[in-house]
């Protein structure tokens, strides 16, 4: 390479500056240079969060438009993040998160992060005791109580407690001990339940400061030896629906001041049970509230197949407790969800494959697969089109 003297180099630099400044205008008079900005979050009728376990590490959630198949945005949910606590009444959502100060080592910090649901930027955080449950995602690890003033997070250290966060004051209130029980199921604005290893349901009532006011154990809710309950319950208005390993629905009505335990009813008839049709997966139940339908992910298996994937979705009318539809999935599935609108979509994802598969929930027709939606698909969270 020929050596270039300093004067020549200066001249060359000057020429480049001149070209850079004047060349575009010289060749396209109407050219307008772009400026990097941030896109506004797109609205949509069928938006759904898909959580990504990222190989058991720092997790993230991706927002997809299920109609177009396009990714809209992403939020990060911390180490082994599980889900978002979506608000039904305000343009924000919350995330119970864990961080280590040096990535995979160092001091552990747990926080409840508030996100602006329009910008998807974190707008605040409240530190909570660094012992919330980590592991396989379950939506019952944390929950908003009904008026959304308090957020609860289940702790396992291995002592079982529940952290209470006052979102109105922006402060951690304290812990409530739930020895022998686990997870949190909202029962109203100031009540929650935990599912207990002795087969009981623990009901805890809070006062307006978020402190424990009363508790009541409801024994013999289920038999953990004969037919344990899956902890993956769904709420249908004033009813919690817990489903057992064998496929019996155990309803709990929370509308009264106490709790009313309804008669259990089966998802399967005797022949199906003999053929070992069972519910299973990571997120095997979904509710479509306006039609009162319960969607269940089922498979043929035996004992201890409660986490196995399925390729069949059986749909039940909660009013009649009868099955009204069967949907055959093309791919294996471990998570299902249903959009809340009147033209509902059924979403399906499998922990071992990176796609989100979209079905018409009414006809069972497979509409599309959104490839590379998540590396390790976890929980699915549809959001209503009119609530960001």
């Amino acid at each position: 390479m020929a050596r270039v003297g300093a004067p020549r180099l200066a001249a060359l630099a000057l020429a480049l500056v001149v070209v850079a400044n004047f060349a575009p205008r010289a060749t396209a008079a109407d050219f307008v240079a772009e400026q990097a900005t941030t896109a506004k979050l797109a609205d949509g009728r069928h938006r759904v969060w898909i959580h990504d376990l990222v190989g058991i590490g720092y997790a993230k959630a991706t927002l997809l438009d299920a109609d177009s198949g396009r990714q809209l945005a992403q939020v990060d949910t911390g180490y082994l993040g599980m889900e978002l606590e979506l608000s039904a009444k305000s343009p924000r959502f919350y995330s119970a998160e864990t961080y280590l100060s040096r990535g995979f080592r160092g001091t552990r910090t747990d926080v409840v992060t508030t996100f602006d649901a329009t910008t998807l930027r974190p707008t605040g955080e409240i530190e909570i005791p660094a012992k919330r449950l980590l592991g396989l995602p379950t939506s019952a690890h944390a929950s908003l109580l009904d008026d959304e003033r308090f957020l609860l997070a289940y702790n396992f250290s291995p002592a079982s407690t529940v952290s209470v966060v006052d979102l109105e004051r922006g402060a951690f209130v304290g812990e409530i001990e739930v020895a022998g029980c686990a997870l949190v199921y909202p029962l109203g604005p100031r009540r929650f339940a935990s599912l207990c290893g002795d087969g009981s349901l623990l009901e805890v009532t809070l006062d307006d400061a978020g402190r424990e006011q009363a508790r009541k154990a409801h024994p013999n809710f289920f038999d953990p030896s004969l037919d344990p309950l899956l902890e993956k319950a769904v709420r249908a208005g004033d009813q919690w629906l817990f489903v057992s390993f064998a496929g019996d629905v155990h309803p709990v009505d929370v509308s009264a001041s106490g709790l009313t335990f309804g008669a259990k009813w089966p998802l399967t008839d005797a022949a199906e049970r003999a053929s070992k049709w069972l519910p299973g997966g990571l997120q095997p139940f979904a509710l479509h509230a306006s039609s009162g339908r319960l969607y269940t992910l089922v498979h043929q298996g035996g004992a201890d197949t409660h986490k196995d994937p399925g390729q069949s979705v059986w749909v039940y009318d909660l009013a009649t407790k009868k099955r009204v539809q069967k949907i055959a999935l093309d791919e294996l599935s471990t998570s299902i969800a249903v959009s809340p609108d009147d033209a509902p979509l059924l979403y399906s994802a499998f922990l071992g494959a990176p796609a989100l598969v979209v079905y018409d929930a009414r006809t069972g027709t497979r509409l599309r697969a959104i490839e590379n939606a998540a590396s390790w698909p976890g929980l699915l969270q549809p959001i209503a089109g009119d609530v960001k």
């Binding site: 995979f104 290893g197 030896s225 071992g352």
Partner: protein, 173 residues
Amino acid sequence: MSRIDALTQAAARRLASRTSRRSLLGMLGRLLVGGAALPLLPVSRVARAAGGASGGAKIDDPESCDYWRYCAIDGYLCSCCGGSASTCPPGTSPAPMTWVGTCRNPADGKAYIVSYNDCCGKASCGHCMCNRNEGDRPPYLPWVSNDINWCLGGENKIAYHCSTAVLVGVADK
């Protein structure tokens, strides 16, 4: 290992060595201590269901999900990560608390008590994911729930790396 952690693990082992799984399950709800090991994920079983993985069962291969000790494991096999079925890879530490499963060894027909120690302190290994759920129950029975990440307590080493299956006793008398 803190004292309470050591007590918890010792208690779990004693309990498991004395009791059948059925009676153990019945007792679990009344006990606070104990534990499951390891995170999750029905991936290996699922890969087989999808027709993707290995042919015959390798019940005597510690790097295979079919290895007999792994009947209730959930996580990356430490045997594939620089450790073994009973040792953590260099630089990681066994979780002080675990849960104990019961697996039958086809070689001698006996059921053994298996402690599923997570190995902690580094990012996940990423090799040989395996999930089998014999006797697994939800987190309200933590002694027998493999959903829980047991890398808790002890020097803040919560990062999950891989899972072992340590033989700690014979269940059949």
